[in-house]
Subunit: 409 residues, 2 copies
């Protein structure tokens, strides 16, 4: 099959229009889930889809679906899309690229008069970011059965406003079931890392999600005055914590390029210039695409931390509180993506996603894969987030080809 | 002269009575400056002094003075005492030992019919601890001219209540000048360290105060997502801070036994499990009894921190905000203390104070020295703080002898 391309100008114009809704002065986006700007963006998407002849349904958790009919309407649909909500004062590409490209895919198929066997459903997931309502990936979680509908509807923002009342207020409390069967799911997204940029690759064939394990670590020593006691008699919990931070980095680097080990939270409760810290609390974040390696690395870190404390006369406690197993995407859908990239001549490579996306939920109930495109220096959740028009168009071309492959029997 | 001793039983009874005012269930003391319990303790001290024939004056910042007349009333007084206020949920010895022993010194002189050339003034300083009103050593600072009276009166606690209004409320807004000339100042205090305990010494001849220098250190890297970016590309400010914490300890230990180097405050503003820290703020506290050594150690630490950052691709900023030069106590007053200890046969040694006391202020305006006695394991600012009756009595004996020597022409 010839490598067909989406309409560059139309895609760019649509990205510009949707980016204007909640635009920040420095070229970013502030469009929190279910706020006034999210309603405005949803209305814009609904109008575009309706005008193009793709009837829009809204489900009970506010997810929007727009259908391009297939030849066999009884077939399960191919689902494509992403999310229109953003983090506070963030970028215009994280989410919208996948939604707007999905619409462009359907329009290009119309332009070329291509009928697919299966229907194609565009999706805009509610509250992907989790910035306003916790947890993130909320509505795709309901879709995939990870969360009860009632749980999701009852989530409240910091002002005590619930998802249910906001859906009602902005007119997106739909009646469509929040869960239904699909034949496959494909999501286009910016990488939010530098793997593609550094490899000069345009297309990332996402292999799945790395496993993520977070552990609260508490280090115990003895609070003493910073003056009188001789230093060699101290039991300074911060010395233990500092050694742990360095050991975490060392073990993470020793397991490159797959592992990530991070201490992003660390606090000293005594918080006084004149008190030797008797306690330090930190959070250890370990990521690895392979489940067994993740387990081994976690065990290695905990052993090392215990050894550090034993040598210093400190004690340590671990409290696991977050544990996502790695997810491997569907080989057939990944192959659709890879062969499309080769056909188009876009340099591509395989990589896992190290951040969460709605595909993480959907992968549990349907064949799923993701397409990544580069973003400048990996900067994301930041007004400076940037992806080129060319890369967005290339991503849309691949979404088009992979969707077409998935929608044909 | 024969080694005269204070009345053990009376001293012990007075310590028990004063310790009951603000006593905590676990044997400690909670008697914040100018609160109801501080008023009760002040009233008790005032009644004891008045009944013993020592007229009490209160100055404009609430410091209490009780005078035992001298033969030559025109002579400048010898000032002895400490403070009755405490840290929250703290110990019963930090402060009160010096006040109650001072009263016992005057009573013993009465018992023995000893007249001194100079008058002796007992003092109870207002707000030594700085737990309720910042800064600590507040009223001795006014006495020594370090703070303006109006500044001290305007200090507020966390509820916005001022020193002035509390002095008025509890009846200790006096009219005596907050500053007057004295011939010398001697303060008995628990060590709050383990130097005496480990040397099996009963009396510490305090040589002065160590210098204390506090510096805010900010380490700058780059906030990035903990997932996508390869670990070797990170600019993790917490890695830099951890190396600094360990370097601070290393350089402190290398300058044992005189130096103390402490990081007691450290915070990570990004505070997210999934963000590699782009900034860490910490406070570096350096103490040394010798001014030149303190300067050299501070310079060495800052050089080392800069080197750590240079190697890691981070940057660092230093903001000095606290700098007390070392203080050397008066040789004559120290000699009174040392010879008294030798005469009594109490094992003694010289040591600097590594914590702040009112003597730090008074030393700037009059010949000053301090007597330390041991406290169990150096534990202080804690309900478990403990000193034996024998050591308190020994300390009072030395205060008696040193006061007598200072009060004779």
């Amino acid at each position: 099959m010839k490598a067909i391309k989406v309409n560059r100008a139309r895609l760019k114009a649509a990205m510009e229009s949707i980016s204007a809704v909640g635009a920040t002065p420095r070229g970013g986006l502030h469009r929190l889930a279910l706020g006034d700007k999210d309603k405005e963006a949803r209305d814009m998407l609904r109008d575009w889809c309706t005008q193009a002849g793709y009837p829009v349904r809204v489900d009970r958790i506010g997810n929007m679906y727009a259908r391009r009919a297939g030849r066999h309407e009884g077939e399960l649909p191919v689902l494509i899309g992403s999310h229109l909500d953003s983090q506070p004062m963030a970028g215009r590409f994280d989410g919208p690229v996948g939604v707007i490209a999905a619409l462009e895919v359907m329009k290009t198929l119309d332009d070329l008069g291509i009928a697919t066997d299966r229907p194609i459903d565009l999706v805009n997931w509610t509250n992907e970011e989790g910035a306003r309502f916790q947890p993130p990936l909320l509505a795709s979680g309901v879709f995939a059965g990870a969360y009860e509908l009632e749980f999701a509807l009852s989530r409240q923002d910091n002002d005590g406003v619930s998802v249910a009342s906001e859906l009602e207020r902005i007119g997106y409390a739909g009646t469509h079931p929040a869960s239904f069967s699909i034949s496959s799911y494909i999501e286009l997204h910016i990488e939010q890392g530098v793997v593609l940029e550094q490899a000069h690759a345009t297309i990332g064939v996402v292999s799945g999600f790395v496993g993520i394990r977070d552990t609260r670590v508490s280090v115990f020593g003895e609070n003493v005055h910073a003056g009188p006691l001789a230093m060699h008699l101290r039991k300074d919990a911060l010395i233990g914590a500092a050694q742990m931070v360095l050991a975490a980095q060392e073990l993470g680097l020793a397991n490159a390029p797959d592992a990530r080990v991070t201490v992003g939270r660390l606090s000293v409760p005594s918080d006084s210039h004149s008190i030797v810290p008797g306690r330090v609390d930190l959070v250890l974040d370990v990521r690895h695409p392979d489940a067994a390696s993740l387990d081994a690395l976690q065990a290695q870190l905990e052993d090392r931390f215990r050894l550090i404390c034993a040598k210093l006369g400190l004690s340590v406690e671990f409290e696991p509180y977050w544990n996502y197993a790695p997810i491997v995407f569907d080989p057939a859908v990944r192959e659709h993506i890879r062969s499309a990239a080769e056909q188009h001549g876009y340099p591509c490579l395989d990589l896992p996603s190290r951040a969460g996306h709605d595909a993480l939920n959907v992968a549990k109930v349907a064949p799923t894969a993701m397409i990544f495109i580069p973003c400048l220096k990996g900067i994301s959740h930041n007004e400076a987030e940037f992806a080129t028009d060319e890369d967005i168009a290339a991503g849309a071309d691949i979404l088009l080809a992979a969707t077409l492959a998935a929608a044909m029997k």
